[in-house]
């Protein structure tokens, strides 16, 4: 099994979720993150003092998938999260040795 992690733009989450669902992915875990990279942050001004915020809001998505699906899921993530503008994010894949479903204690593929 693999763990595919994607960092995407927040407003693309809905599209990504829909794309994964149609592919058959039935679960995922989402969290808030901030990104630092080519995409620039923004500037705020309070009583004349300027603050440069260089972290950009992102969403992190984690999906556990069967080995065979990993590449497809990466494809789908890239396609559905793409806007073509700087800051669209990254997708990476890590090997997973063991998965368990807490509710039932099932292990491995059945647990996903």
């Amino acid at each position: 099994m693999k763990l595919v992690t994607a960092i995407i733009k927040p407003h693309k989450l809905d599209d990504v979720k829909t794309a994964l669902e149609s592919f058959g992915v039935q679960g995922m875990t989402v969290s808030e993150a901030s990104g630092y990279g080519r995409q620039r942050g923004h500037t705020e001004v309070y009583r004349g003092a300027e603050y440069t915020v260089d972290l950009v809001p992102k969403v992190r998505l984690e999906v556990l998938v069967d080995d065979g699906d990993a590449l497809d899921v990466v494809e789908i993530l890239v396609k559905s999260a793409q806007t073509g503008r700087i800051g669209d994010g990254k997708v990476w894949t890590v090997p997973v040795e063991d998965v368990a479903r807490v509710r039932t204690g099932e292990r491995g593929l059945d647990a996903i």
């Binding site: 927040p10 407003h11 989450l13 809905d14 989402v30 808030e32 809001p57």
Partner: protein, 446 residues
């Protein structure tokens, strides 16, 4: 008609109305973020319900001109008859329109049940609460207000029995605070403890909101107390002064106890102390001199700071300390009059009986104890019965899972905050599929 008196009582009525939202924020900031809206709603719906009852029959039951010692008559049903009269129902001829007096008193009838809601935070069914407010205000508040606040006509005919007895309660230590505090105790027992209490953790979710509530309460309370003079005069000035200094010292008294006991003076303590002082000075503000109000504040602040621990010892989940602050604070204020009440304030229009320390003997203290005790017992018993009946019939206590989900979501289908920062927030915005299922919205998709 005196326009100055009328202006002050109009303003005071508005100030006391503001106290109920103030209370809602004071309470709302203290609960967890998943209960804040329900806490606010318990106060707001009380404004709605009690205003209707008041117009229909509440003002009549409390102040109807031809009643007996226990309740008024029904002359003011609908308030239509009150439209063109001056205020003669309160023991003297006040130079303000009767409708203005009626509105001022309505605000007291609203905040009293609202105070009770703090005892049952996080776990009450909204329908149960709404029915409770309707019944409680009718059976408990309106009659008790008559007992305490209605001094009858200029000769004292038709006065409430506590008023006639000579119990001193200028602005509602018995009728409002002991009344609400005893009811809070009863309801906390009837509804039982929250899941996990006292082990689980119920930190206040928004302390600035608590302090906003306390600030609005303090501001509004000048209407409550000084407005009870029903005119802009020396008596109002005295009540205002005592209210100010007692509240200030109660704030100090509470945080001093905290500093000594826990090591840190807290902002929740400061807010709580201020409210405890406001409660304690409410009955007493027209009976004592300013330095006695300074002392009352210190005493009330310290006692209430200690009293909020009682619930752990006795095992009832009075979630936001209605007992520790309003019942205890109300009793302290009422009895204090028996000790420090003085005819020296009569020159400013205040009460004229002397308490123990002014050589008046124990007579006044005894009357104060009767006043406090009878309201306490009446309110506790009736509330216990009302609460039990409601819980057994339509239901008053939330189911445990729904309490876990959170009362805001379960009862109101709402979430208090959606505060995620710029953009970051949209993650979760976007993660929501909206569908407008209103009639109108159906029109769109059709």
């Amino acid at each position: 008609m005196d326009t100055g008196d009328t202006a002050w009582v109009l303003m005071s009525a508005a100030l006391v109305l503001l106290m109920t939202p103030g209370l809602a924020f004071f309470y709302g900031g203290m609960v967890r973020s998943k209960s804040v809206l329900n806490m606010l709603m318990m106060s707001f719906v009380t404004i709605g319900i009690v205003s209707v009852l008041w117009t229909l029959f509440g003002f009549s039951v409390a102040f109807g001109a031809g009643g007996n010692g226990f309740m008024g008559d029904f002359g003011y049903v609908g308030l239509g008859e009150a439209m063109n009269q001056m205020t003669t129902v309160n023991g003297a001829v006040y130079k303000i329109p009767l409708l203005v007096f009626s509105m001022f008193q309505l605000m007291f009838a609203i905040i009293t049940p609202a105070l009770i809601s703090g005892a049952i935070a996080d776990r009450a069914k909204f329908l149960g609460w709404s029915v409770f407010v309707t019944l409680w205000t009718t059976i408990v508040y309106f009659p008790v207000a008559h007992w305490v606040f209605d001094f009858g006509d200029a000769n004292g005919n038709h006065a409430g029995w506590l008023a006639k007895l000579g119990v001193q309660d200028f602005a509602g230590g018995t009728a409002v605070h002991i009344n609400a505090g005893a009811a809070g105790l009863a309801l906390a027992i009837v509804l039982g403890k929250r899941n996990g209490w006292p082990k689980a953790q119920f930190r206040p979710h928004n302390l600035p909101l608590v302090l906003l509530g306390a600030g609005l309460l303090w501001f509004g309370w000048f209407g409550f107390n000084a407005g009870s003079a029903l005119g802009a005069n020396g008596l109002a000035g005295l009540a205002f002064t005592n209210t100010m200094v007692c509240t200030a010292t109660a704030l100090l008294g509470w945080i001093l106890v905290e500093k000594l006991r826990d090591g840190h003076p807290t902002s929740l303590g400061a807010a709580s102390g201020a409210v405890a002082g406001l409660v304690a000075v409410t009955p007493a503000c027209a009976s004592i001199v300013p330095w006695a109000a300074v002392l009352l504040g210190l005493v009330a602040g310290a006692i209430c700071a200690l009293a909020v621990g009682l619930k752990y010892r006795l095992g009832f989940d009075d979630s936001l300390d209605v007992v520790g602050v309003h019942l205890v604070g109300g009793i302290v204020g009422c009895l204090y009059i028996g000790l420090f009440g003085t005819g020296r304030v009569a020159g400013a229009g205040g009460a004229s009986a002397d308490g123990v320390f002014y050589g008046g003997g124990f007579g006044l203290l005894g009357k104060q104890a009767i006043g406090a005790g009878s309201v306490l017992v009446y309110s506790f018993v009736i509330t216990f019965v009302l609460g039990t009946v409601i819980n057994k019939t339509i239901g008053f206590r939330l189911d445990p899972e729904d309490e876990e989900t959170g009362v805001d979501l379960f009862e109101h289908a709402e979430t208090g905050y959606e505060l995620a920062g710029v953009g970051g927030g949209s993650a979760f915005h976007a993660a929501v599929s909206t569908s407008h299922r209103t009639e109108a919205a159906k029109g769109v998709s059709a």
